[in-house]
Assembly symmetry: C2
Homo-oligomer: 131 residues x 2
Amino acid sequence: MLIQIEPQSDVPIYEQVTRQIIEGIAKGEMKPGDMLPSVRNLAADLGVNMHTVNKSYHELEAKGILTIRAKSGAIIRSAEERTLTPEQLKQIEKNLKPVVAEGMVLGATANQIEHMMKKVFADLQVLTEGM
Amino acid sequence: MLIQIEPQSDVPIYEQVTRQIIEGIAKGEMKPGDMLPSVRNLAADLGVNMHTVNKSYHELEAKGILTIRAKSGAIIRSAEERTLTPEQLKQIEKNLKPVVAEGMVLGATANQIEHMMKKVFADLQVLTEGM
DNA sequence: ATTTTTGTTATACTTAATATATAACAAAAA
DNA sequence: TTTTTGTTATATATTAAGTATAACAAAAAT
């Protein structure tokens, strides 16, 4: 799985790492049970500090996506281990809201945003039959 | 229009102001042509510094949502004045992607995310007939 | 059993972002 | 003419982000 960092971005490095790992899992490039590279190895690959990657892994653990086994490594949790809580659903909705609102105010129609959603799903290789 | 600041939030105050103004416009609580309160007045209302509100207004101007007339005030641009550029569409898609990906990885189905989208639209009073 | 690798913890430092405080300026509006 | 407005400038404090380095103890590999 390829992770690319944009040093100039307004998105913090640890957040870029977090997002790209999530995308990698969504795309099936990484599967539940898979081990992530060690924080030292990934940091060396990306040319960033160990603690930056470590922060990302812990963010992913807080989101319930990883399990970090102390002094051993980080494993991607399976969908069975993950319980989509009502709180998480609310959080997703909370994240969705400002993006959609900005799109609407900028002049995008509901259908255009709908279309963008499907493009994102397609990029993540998610089946959208019958939607 | 009511704006409420959460001082404890991880979202910066100026960003909270920006988002809530965008939501207000999306909901129709503020219409194109309307003048926003002066940076000093809004800052006093919210109990924050003048420059914090000023930063938010300039962020909104950079997004193409406001026009700031020097030493006069800020006006909400009309949809006609706003041209939804391909760059803006790409930006919206770019904003949408991590939110959707996280939802998927957490175990939400495409239909669940679809449903959340409609809830957000409903909250913003957007017509979604025939979608 | 020993060596290597691992996440963890701690300390120190730098830079940038966020937010406030205060003041002055010049143009617009009242 | 006075008040209000965004603008600009300076200064300060706090927090976030990122790096650097080191040491520790447990896990894994040899």
